[in-house]
């Protein structure tokens, strides 16, 4: 029986999206599938907050968006990490690692 999916911590989604886009430009559906597969369904991520995050990041200047053609020749909105987004991702990633390490230190038996 699979583990009960965990609630998403505040701000986690942004860093996941930035991480995903670090691989290269992709459209929203691809970002969604990529995160889903990488987390093995442990994180229950709905698509609505994901799209909100993409547009919010665009407004913040961390990603840019352009219309392009998808694999099946349909118009799709492609997102690309900007250099500001790359810097933001690095900053958030190291913050996350420190946070996670701190949590692990507490949880691990001494």
């Amino acid at each position: 029986m699979p583990a009960q999916p965990m609630d998403l911590l505040q701000g986690t989604l942004d860093v996941l999206v930035l991480r995903t886009l670090a691989w290269g430009s992709m459209h929203g559906y691809a970002v969604s599938r990529w995160i889903h597969e990488r987390t093995d369904g442990v994180l229950e991520i709905e698509d609505a907050p994901l799209y909100k995050a993409l547009h919010r990041l665009e407004r913040a200047g961390f990603v840019s968006a352009e219309w392009g053609l998808s694999e099946n020749n349909r118009r799709a909105r492609y997102y690309t990490l900007t250099s500001a987004g790359r810097r933001q991702f690095k900053a958030e990633e190291s913050a996350w690692r420190r946070y996670a390490e701190a949590v692990f230190k507490v949880l691990e038996p001494a």
Binding site: G28, D47, K52, H55, R59, R75, T82, S83
Partner: protein, 887 residues
């Protein structure tokens, strides 16, 4: 903060609807992809769709949120695009202007003149009329003004009592009375400074804090209180070296010891020129219903912060109405109302200043017209460039914006230089400003002035830029490109625009020239007025004898001593003392009655100026005695009381009889008993208040029969009158070292300074008109010269067909004069309309003065002829072969 990826090509701006469609398309794409994926995994289409929607979450919320975010992004993008365009335009405009330095320089100098003149005049308007007086809640400070039967009237001590006891809407009232102040410090020479006597609450009403010490306390304006004085910061620094320890020490003022209690801050003086303040004390005789007729006081009051001034004004009016009921005779139709202190100080500058502001606005319009013309010429030369930019996809709006950026850049640069021009101009202007102009010393170019200059510059740039820009925006691409290859040819519409602009320019210049001409003409008329006395060779000065040490006898002795000693000075022809100096503006009027005429109610009695003079006054001033005798040295306290009247009084009140021998009773001082004075002579009129004012009825009383403490000393000399200043000063110092001589001027200087304002205004407007004339001449020259260069081919053909050089140049000059004539006609109509505005500034000249208008047309015609003759000469020399081959 927003780091956006730079795009090579700008994306088209999206509308709100397009944003919504984009959001829907993105989400539809997602759902479709997910449905396809699930079907591939074996789900039925219906189940796949349901699952995809379930996985997505709240679709509507997401759509709304994303739409809002995207609209933000779009707005930011638009802002950044516009800024980017603007930077690009500014850079482009700068490069273009650098590439045409002659054009840029001409435009900037023209604009700097126009904008600078506006900045200078506005800074004066701002400093004098708009900036509030330097007191907290200065708008609550008011004057209480009285009128009786429609005429202005001063206040009495009893008015103070009435208002203080009855009014409820005021913080307080205070009297103000100008007071001579001879001040002596450390046995030095006496100095005469401007002083006032005020109520003890004066500085509380103004809400001013002392620099050092304190201000008056309650009761210090009561009879018997210690004599105290507040110094101005200026006087304190000048005469007491800014030493705080002078507080509490004693200083002799008007021969009476006063204790210095405090120093008032330099920039918060009221009255503006006051150097010291003492308290005004009323004695029981003055605070009596019997003294309601003696009016000489001024008022200041502060209205409570929460009461509208109009309400407070209604209250003092009600009080004055109630008082009339109690004293119906003496207070008949006497009314009080409140008036603005600032308007009182600057009231007579208001109109001239606004007229100056109008004049500089016209100068700026002319400058705009000139630059617009320059731009039009340039626009023609740049048609090729514009066509290419259009071909590359620049829309008309984009071109217009680009050209406006260029013109605004020019006008802002012009404004920058203009502020420098204004600064210099103001220095010169304020140095020449007559001293009598209030608040002018405080004028600076402040933030408000700079902000207005910036706005004016912006508007200016748009005004002169819009026409050429619109022209550039509409043209036939193919024609322009073809023409661009071999030099351009002006479109008729552009030529029409240029001509219209020149006509407008000439019209504006004519309006200004007429205004200047009228003011100059009226100034000349003013100078030609016969003042009624001969000012040349006469020196004048004032002394004020302190009442404490000079009773009537001492005053008589002083007068006699000055007369004797001054007469002994080598070169002195005659010496006189009096209680006034002609054209000094002082007025000292009393009502009078004529013996043998039916009695008249006191408030209806005629009034006359009263002057006390020594026997030689008329000969010293050069005033002719036309009937009877002059005042004689035998007219002494014990002898018959006599007076000499001026011709105006004689004509007005004794039209059909001989004034000499009649007796009149003056309503003043010792004569209130009804004691009569006999008229012994009639003397010529003098302009006493101002050259433009008709003479008032005046009587001259022997000063020995009515000694007066504020005296003028007048000496007619054979030599340079100004060389008498030092000996006369020394003479008075020998008589009494506590009596300072002040206001030393030759009578010619007084005549000149009495018309100082008129001269100042006339000079200013003449300068503006001169600038306007030069600018419009340059504009006319530019248009004609350009037309000639455009028509070289045509002129060549004409010469080839037999037209002589003379004929060609006549044709060109004719064209220039035709434009000028149209402009002049419009301008004269305009100036007749505008003339009404300056009528009140004119003296002896009608606003439609034909001589002035003819003069203006002559000047303008001459200038226009020269401006068109220069290009005409070039046109006449056109070589037909070169001209026709060149095309």
């Amino acid at each position: 903060m927003t780091a956006r990826r730079k795009r090579l090509f700008r994306l088209p701006w999206r509308s709100a609807r397009q944003i919504r469609d984009d959001v829907d398309e993105e989400l539809r794409f997602h759902l479709d992809m997910r449905v396809d994926g699930l079907i591939a995994l074996g789900h039925s289409p219906e189940a796949a769709r349901a699952q995809a929607i379930h996985e997505f979450g709240d679709l509507d919320d997401a759509r709304r949120y994303i739409g809002a975010v995207d609209r933000d992004i779009e707005a930011a993008q638009r802002r950044s695009d516009i800024m980017h365009d603007l930077w690009h335009d500014i850079g482009y405009a700068t490069r273009k202007l650098r590439a045409a330095p002659a054009f840029a320089l001409a435009a900037i100098v023209t604009l700097a003149l126009g904008i600078g003149a506006n900045t200078a005049i506005f800074s004066v308007v701002n400093g004098v009329l708009l900036k509030p007086l330097p007191f907290p809640q200065a708008d609550r400070l008011v004057r209480v003004v009285y009128t009786q039967q429609g005429h202005g009237d001063a206040g009495t001590p009893m008015d103070l009592v009435d208002n203080r006891t009855r009014a409820t809407k005021f913080v307080g009232f205070s009297v103000i009375e100008a007071s001579t102040a001879n001040i002596i410090r450390n046995n030095a020479d006496a100095e005469r400074v401007q002083g006032v006597r005020v109520g003890a609450n004066w500085f509380d009403l103004l809400r001013v804090k002392p620099v050092v010490g304190r201000f008056f306390r309650d009761g210090e304006d009561q009879t018997g209180a210690e004599n105290v004085v507040v110094l101005s910061e200026q006087l304190w620094r000048r005469d007491f070296s800014g030493d705080p320890s002078v507080i509490g020490t004693s200083v002799r003022i008007n021969a009476t010891p006063h204790t210095i209690i405090g120093v008032a801050p330099a920039e918060q003086r009221y009255p503006l020129s006051s150097e010291l303040w003492m308290t005004k004390r009323f004695d029981a005789r003055e605070l009596n219903d019997g003294s309601r007729g003696a009016r000489w006081l001024g008022w200041l009051a502060r209205v409570k912060d929460d009461v509208p001034v109009a309400e407070a004004s209604a209250e003092v009016t009600r009080i004055s109405e109630a008082m009339e009921k109690q004293f119906p005779e003496v207070l008949r139709q006497r009314r009080a109302h409140l008036a603005s202190v600032q308007e009182y100080l600057t009231g007579d500058m208001r109109k001239p200043l606004f007229i100056m502001l109008g004049a500089v606005a016209l100068v700026l319009l002319i400058a705009c017209a000139n630059v617009a013309n320059l731009m039009l010429v340039r626009a023609t030369a740049r048609e090729g460039e514009m066509a290419i930019r259009t071909a590359l996809g620049a829309g008309r709006g984009r071109l217009v914006r680009q050209l406006l950026t260029e013109s605004v850049l020019l006008s802002l640069t012009g404004a920058l230089v203009g502020v420098g021009v204004a600064k210099l101009g103001m220095l010169q202007m304020l140095r020449r400003a007559p001293q009598s102009l209030p608040l002018v010393g405080t004028v600076t170019i402040d933030g408000r002035t700079l902000a207005l200059t910036a706005i004016v510059a912006l508007i200016t740039g748009i005004v002169f830029g819009i026409l050429p820009a619109m022209h550039a925006g509409k043209h036939d691409l193919a024609t322009a490109l073809r023409a661009g290859a071999r030099g351009t040819r002006t479109r008729p519409s552009a030529n029409r625009a240029k001509r219209t602009i020149v006509v407008a320019e000439v019209a504006l210049a004519v309006t200004l020239l007429t205004g200047a001409g009228l003011l100059l003409h009226s100034f000349a008329k003013l100078l030609a007025v016969d003042p009624g006395f001969r000012p040349e060779g006469v020196i004048s000065m004032k002394v004020a004898l302190p009442g404490r040490t000079y009773d009537s006898t001492a005053t008589r002795n002083f007068i006699r001593a000055v007369e004797e000693r001054a007469r002994a000075l080598p070169g002195a022809k005659s010496v006189a003392l009096a209680n006034f100096i002609p054209l000094d503006g002082s007025s000292y009027g009393f009502s009078f009655t004529i013996r043998g005429r039916p009695p008249i109610r006191p408030s209806d009695q005629p009034s006359t100026e009263v002057r006390q003079v020594t026997p030689d006054f008329f000969s010293t001033m050069g005033m002719p005695v036309t009937r009877g005798r002059s005042i004689a040295s035998s007219d002494q306290p014990g002898t018959t009381k006599v007076l000499v009247v001026n011709q105006t009084l004689a004509k007005r009140f004794f039209p059909n009889e001989d004034a000499v021998g009649q007796s009149i009773s003056l309503g003043w001082g010792e004569d209130t008993s009804g004691e009569l004075r006999q008229i012994v002579g009639v003397v010529g009129d003098v302009r006493s208040a101002a050259l433009e004012d008709e003479p008032e009825p005046t009587v001259y009383v022997p000063i020995m029969q009515a000694p007066y403490s504020n005296l003028s000393i007048l000496v007619r000399t054979n030599a340079q009158p100004s060389s008498f200043a030092a000996p006369l000063r020394a003479l008075v110092r020998e008589l009494d070292h506590e009596v300072p001589v002040y206001s030393v001027q030759t009578m010619e200087e007084r005549v000149a300074s009495s018309v100082g304002r008129q001269k100042f205004y006339a000079t200013l407007i003449a300068i503006f008109a001169g600038v306007a004339l030069v600018l419009s001449a340059v504009g006319l020259y530019g248009v004609i010269a350009y037309a000639v260069s455009q028509r070289t081919h045509e002129l060549g053909v004409r010469v080839a067909l037999g037209a002589t050089g003379d004929r060609i140049s006549r044709m060109v000059i004719g064209e220039g004069l035709a434009l000028t004539a149209i402009g002049a006609v419009i301008g004269i109509v305009g100036s007749i309309l505008a003339g009404k505005l300056i009528t009140s500034l004119l003296f002896g000249v009608n606003a439609t003065d034909p001589a002035t208008i003819v003069g203006v047309i002559a000047v303008l015609g001459a200038v226009a002829a020269v401006a068109s003759w220069l290009p005409a000469r070039r046109a006449a020399r056109v070589d037909p072969l070169t001209a026709m081959r060149g095309d």
